[in-house]
């Protein structure tokens, strides 16, 4: 340490890179270190980010705040995110701030803690951006995917939450960003199966319009609830929570008739007891297929008849729900029965498909557009 200590400190201070106080403050600081693009997929169950510095992170969309001083001391943090929040949820005020793909605080369903959910959402967005490790001397431009039919006040809430951490932000349709990321812009039908919503989007070489997009709630959470009902019906003595069912589904989800037997341990009066839930899993996972094909049918039927066959044979399955084994085959079978034909492709990276596409959009967006939205 030399005697010019103050000067040395001023030069080496990198600063807390992900924290920006406001858009105007960020603009006031000259940034000439480069441009960081972020593609964010804000999901009900998982939030993923892909960045132009090579960082790719995914965390579960859970936020926890220690309930009291003792909990804070034990946990060593003021806010917990992802699986850590889930693990310690009993000693935290626990939030799952997104529901049906949008911020819970703005949904029409009653929520007890609007402010808490809003703060949790803002903290979650801030955290996912921080995990992308942005530098303080770089401009940060982010594209966030939202459900195809997200309402205006939902979008407003997301932009407000993101503005604290980035220089400029844009929203775009989630299924569109999946297709854009794969360069499949023409004659493609995207099915993005999330936890809260399933989004369908028809791509025909131009920007999809409202009529090209469709959203329903027959998605991962629907499968969880259905599975819970079936297990409860067959084994009423078994004790379980929705979270346990979700983990079972993520581990064993399968639609095919020849799926291996699934036996799980569930407590009965405190004692772990094995239960065969193979049929329940198959039934629950299959329950979303008819609704999915309903959506496909609607979008295909309203398309130019000359190109309907091409559309049927290019159905792209994306999102976390696409990892259900045999789902692509089941959809194809149903399409053949109802629509006469069908070919389903599965995206290679279900977790990062949306964020990869959003990143590509951010990269391709002209600079002047970013400037105008600052």
């Amino acid at each position: 340490m030399t005697k010019n200590t103050t000067a040395d400190i001023g030069e080496t201070t990198g600063g807390n890179a992900a924290t920006k106080t406001s858009g105007t403050n960020a603009n006031a600081t000259k940034k000439d270190g480069g441009v960081l693009y972020l593609g964010v997929d804000l999901g009900t169950s998982r939030t993923s980010i892909a960045a132009s510095n090579g960082q790719r992170v995914t965390i579960s969309s859970h936020v926890g705040y220690p309930k009291d001083v003792v909990a804070r001391k034990l946990l060593g943090k003021d806010i917990l995110f992802g699986d850590e929040a889930l693990q310690h949820r009993l000693s935290c005020r626990f939030y799952r701030p997104l529901a049906s793909g949008v911020l819970k605080a703005t949904s029409n369903t009653q929520t007890n803690d609007v402010e808490g959910n809003m703060k949790a959402a803002a903290d979650l967005i801030r955290e996912i951006i921080r995990l992308a490790k942005p530098r303080s001397d770089e401009l940060v431009y982010a594209v966030i995917g939202v459900p195809a039919e997200a309402a205006i006040h939902h979008k407003d809430a997301i932009i407000k939450a993101a503005r604290e951490s980035v220089d400029s932000v844009m929203l775009c349709s989630e299924p569109f960003s999946v297709a854009y990321g794969l360069d499949m812009l023409d004659d493609v039908l995207v099915i993005d199966i999330g936890a809260g919503t399933t989004d369908l989007c028809r791509m025909h070489g131009t920007m999809p319009e409202e009529s090209d997009q469709l959203t329903n709630t027959y998605a991962g959470d629907y499968v969880d609830n259905r599975l819970a009902e079936l297990i409860q019906k067959r084994y009423p003595q078994a004790q379980f929570t929705t979270q346990m069912v979700k983990e079972i589904k993520e581990k064993f989800s399968n639609i095919s008739d020849t799926m291996p037997t699934v036996v799980v341990d569930l407590p009965v009066n405190g004692k772990p007891t094995p239960f065969d839930i193979t049929d329940e899993i198959r039934t629950a996972c299959r329950s979303i297929v008819p609704h999915m094909v309903d959506g496909l049918a609607k979008l295909i039927a309203t398309f130019d008849p000359e190109f309907q066959e091409r559309l049927k044979n290019r159905v792209l399955l994306a999102g976390g729900g696409s990892m259900i084994k045999g789902l692509d085959t089941a959809i194809e079978r149903e399409m053949h029965e109802r629509l006469g034909a069908g070919k389903v492709l599965r995206i290679e990276e279900p977790v990062y498909g949306g964020s990869n596409g959003a990143l590509k959009i951010a990269h391709d967006m002209p600079g002047e557009y970013w400037e105008k939205l600052k």
Binding site: K3, T5, A51, S52, G54, Q55, L185, M365, Y369, W370
Partner: protein, 345 residues
């Protein structure tokens, strides 16, 4: 020795020698350096210990140091400071791992207050006053070696005792420069005082001016003239006038010189004050940087400039249109939001 319920003698914890204690302390210092946590070294001395010993006998030294050691133990325990201490001769050295400088300052103040409140006295009833010097491992000179840390604490203790005693001093960055400045100030003050005394003596000694050259010249001139009572009266008047004028000029010169000395002393003192405040700011910055050392500076993007679409992309026109649509939708959305905000406002 205590005994347990079975009546057998309980074991006492083995006492470490000073060498062994220093070894343990040294290990702790190196651990703090490797793992980068703050560590403070505190030196305690009893002000005027030699005078106490001279007054109350040689045993008073040991008694006084023992009282200081007990005070340190008690206060540290009361306020939750965990460390290791060793006493040797007329010094107590204590090391506190995981203790930042401000916390160390708190301990220093607690010790001084407790020392004053308890009014610990020697055998003859003389109140004992303690001085404390401390150093920390955040500086290059104190982080590089254990000896550097101890030496800095010793120098801080010296400063505390030299500046009147009964105080706590923490060794800081550039303290050596301040010390040099203080030495310069003391030397300059001493020299100025000596000059001043000489000048004042000269200025005040009117008789001395009798032998001044001007007076000599006047007397030589008058010696060439026939001496009459009137001439003698005139000579004494002229000499008196010349002496008065000379005295006045001398006085003015001395006053100007004294003003210059005062200005230089003031300048030195201001430099010391400014450096002291800069050290305070530097320490705050150090603490802030130490706290920030775990912050990840981030990973650089592969792009230095805004990219946009490549011209050679086959679908560039379609993509351009899509980008434009996305932008317009976002812009319209934000404009609507602003319009609504204005309307509501």
């Amino acid at each position: 020795m205590t005994s347990d319920t079975n009546g057998t003698a309980a074991r006492q914890a083995p006492r470490l020698s000073i060498t062994q204690m220093l070894g343990v302390i040294r290990v702790e210092f190196h651990r703090a350096r490797t793992q980068r946590y703050p560590l403070c070294c505190l030196m305690i001395a009893v002000d005027g210990l030699d005078a106490v010993a001279a007054r109350d006998g040689w045993q008073a030294k040991a008694t006084s140091m023992s009282a200081a050691y007990d005070l340190l133990k008690r206060i540290a325990r009361e306020h939750g400071f965990i460390g290791m201490a060793v006493q040797s001769g007329d010094r107590i050295m204590a090391v506190f791992p995981n203790t930042p400088t401000d916390r160390m300052g708190q301990l220093g103040n607690y010790l001084l207050e407790a020392g004053r409140a308890l009014a610990i006295t020697s055998a003859s009833g003389q109140a004992l006053v303690f001085s404390l010097g401390a150093s920390h491992n955040l500086l290059a000179e104190t982080n590089s070696s254990f000896e550097g840390l101890v030496e800095s604490a010793g120098r801080a203790l010296h400063l505390a005792t030299q500046s009147g005693g009964g105080r706590y001093v923490m060794w800081r960055e550039a303290e050596s420069e301040i010390e040099a400045l203080r030495v310069d100030l003391a030397a300059a003050s001493k020299s100025f005082r000596a000059e001043q005394e000489t000048l004042e003596e000269e200025a005040g000694d009117a008789g001395g001016l009798q032998r001044a050259e001007l007076v000599d010249k006047i007397q030589r001139i008058f010696s060439t003239v026939t001496r009459t009572p009137e001439i003698e009266r005139l000579e004494s008047q002229i000499v008196e006038l010349a002496v008065a004028e000379l005295y006045e000029e001398r006085r003015k010169a001395v006053a100007a010189q004294m003003r210059e000395h005062a200005r230089q002393v003031d300048k030195l003192e201001r430099r010391i004050a400014k450096l002291t405040s800069v050290i305070g700011v530097t320490e705050e910055e150090l603490a802030r940087v130490m706290a920030m050392k775990m912050v990840d500076p981030g990973v650089a993007s592969i792009f230095k400039t805004v990219q946009g679409l490549r011209g050679d992309d086959a679908t560039v026109q379609a993509k351009k249109a899509m980008m434009s649509t996305i932008f317009e939708q976002n812009l319209a959305f934000q404009k609507n939001k602003d319009t609504q905000a204005v309307a509501v406002g």
